[in-house]
Point group: C2
């Protein structure tokens, strides 16, 4: 049915081996014949059968990525980067959504490992031993999580947090509240770490609350607890929680940023659109996705056992939810 390498060979009056070479290692054939082959291939609209190629080379030309929730713009951001970079390198990408469930996550990872040359894992949930096991089966790159011996694309959350603290302290804040996200998440740990050193260096008071679910409702809930501590600024684990905080503050008639400053984290689309627009930290989502692909491909091609873990910079985006504290 489909046009095969044999058809091209016949058309170009050469053997199938020559066709194969002309396409995958062009310098092995004479320019004249190469052109003949290429023309024939183009004319017939030949596309190599990837399954057949994969069968013999052991390479599938596929990449996998497993994410906890496709509805979370954070992950679609990196997915977009992954997707774009993979396409440039002529790879296709499988995507799997684990629905935040650790068991399915592991299952998906395992299933995917058979079909791809490498997997990008964005899952805060799945545990270390599972990951090491997967890393044995196929190439693995971690996203936003550091694990010994496994390459990783990291976004410097700690640095983002310190930028927030620097900003708030410069405005004159001296008593800050941080609303924790999930305790187990690497991101939350990193953010706390950045937070601790920054507040200690500046000698300002830090009150930690939570953990809270990293969602709108979590923000609503956390807000009242935060206010009880009477801070001048509230730092949420992420934008969605911050949105909850803003909503609750408005309900209670507390004016942002005049009476209390609020910050988020992630710079999701609506951070710029809510009111007042949210001061937050922008994550290099697409760059991280592209980096992850590069790391994966490096590992595959170079065959070097060098394990690279690369940090990408985050950036504070100052909008309208932060101002000097009330006098």
């Amino acid at each position: 049915m489909a046009v095969t390498i044999r058809d091209v060979a016949r058309e170009a009056q050469v053997s199938v081996a020559t066709v194969s070479r002309a396409l995958s290692s062009p310098d092995l054939v004479r320019p004249a014949t190469r052109d003949r082959v290429l023309n024939a291939a183009a004319q017939l609209g030949y596309q190599p059968n990837r399954a057949a190629r994969g069968l013999i080379t052991g390479r599938t030309g596929n990449l996998g990525i497993v994410v906890p929730d496709l509805n979370n713009p954070f992950f679609t951001g990196v997915l977009k980067g992954v997707q774009a970079r993979a396409r440039q390198a002529d790879y296709s990408v499988f995507v799997a959504d684990s629905d935040e469930d650790r068991a399915t996550e592991e299952q998906l990872l395992r299933a995917m490992a058979k079909q791809v040359d490498g997997v990008i894992v964005c899952s805060p949930g799945i545990d270390d031993t599972q990951l090491y096991e997967a890393a044995g089966t196929t190439s693995v790159v971690m996203l936003n999580r550091r694990l010994r011996g496994v390459p990783a694309a990291l976004m410097n959350s700690a640095s983002g947090m310190r930028q927030i603290v620097d900003h708030l302290v410069a405005l004159g804040h001296r008593k800050l509240v941080y609303l924790n996200g999930p305790r187990t998440s690497w991101s939350n740990k990193e953010r706390r770490r950045g937070l601790r050193v920054a507040t200690q260096q500046h000698g300002v008071e830090l009150i930690e609350l939570g953990p809270f679910p990293p969602r709108y409702e979590g923000g609503l809930q956390a807000c009242d607890l935060a206010l009880a501590a009477e801070p001048t600024a509230i730092m949420a684990y992420n934008d969605i929680m911050a949105l909850g905080v803003l909503a609750r503050l408005r309900d209670r008639g507390i004016v942002v940023p005049d009476e209390v400053s609020v910050t988020g984290f992630d710079d999701l689309m609506f951070a710029a659109l809510c009111s007042p627009p949210l001061t937050t930290v922008a994550m290099p989502l697409m760059p991280a996705g592209m980096l992850a692909v590069d790391l994966l491909l490096d590992g595959l091609n170079a065959g070097t056992t060098e394990v690279r873990q690369v940090d990408l910079d985050t950036q504070l985006i100052v909008r309208a939810t932060t101002s000097p504290p009330p006098a």
Copy 2:
């Protein structure tokens, strides 16, 4: 390296043919030997090589989906559905993001067609002839777009629009503005269609403006034009535009819904979170994704040439941006 069907055959003391049968058509082997094979397979951790299988069966076990923008929650919603349903059927899904570009869209579609058993196309942009061509190469299911001879999973936008109009008219509105999205998009056409018949039936005045870019900025821009027409309700093409409208109204000191009612379309997450929470229409995103997969698989397995185009119902979600018009 990996464990192959031969290893299982040796372990179970049968031929490779029997192993293959025991796994893919269990009723062809005696229960006793089947158990032996299954045990051996389980013990060795055997996983069939999909490339090899695909080579001979002509089936890849893969599905593709091409979307214009992964950052758009609309598409990730259906993607989530696709993904979930595909996993149940033991299919993997390739995802491709065209970045709203028609040329890449076509290119992606073409590239994907070779590697999958079927493709789900969510692209409003790509033109009919391209689609028909793709439908010749591989199985195609359209999402939210009707095309003769091509199966489709459709969300009934027209019905959603009529629900909005019914709602507004019931509240007492008599002069409505609709802010058009992209003229070429099937969704916009459908929404207008529903709008027209509903307003005519009720005998209320309808003013159409635009087209506007279906984005936040589009809403900002459209808002002032809309107000000039002095309607009592503004219906936006989608939630994001509606958000822009709300922002602009607030800036101009116009109170929603007391002075003017506003509606969106899509029920994205922030529609519930913005303030005031947006009255909008919920789309059955995940169901549509799952339906699309079902249609695809039906087409593959049944081999029937019956072309199904299924409509899914949308639902009006009344929140706080609609109320009776000012007296």
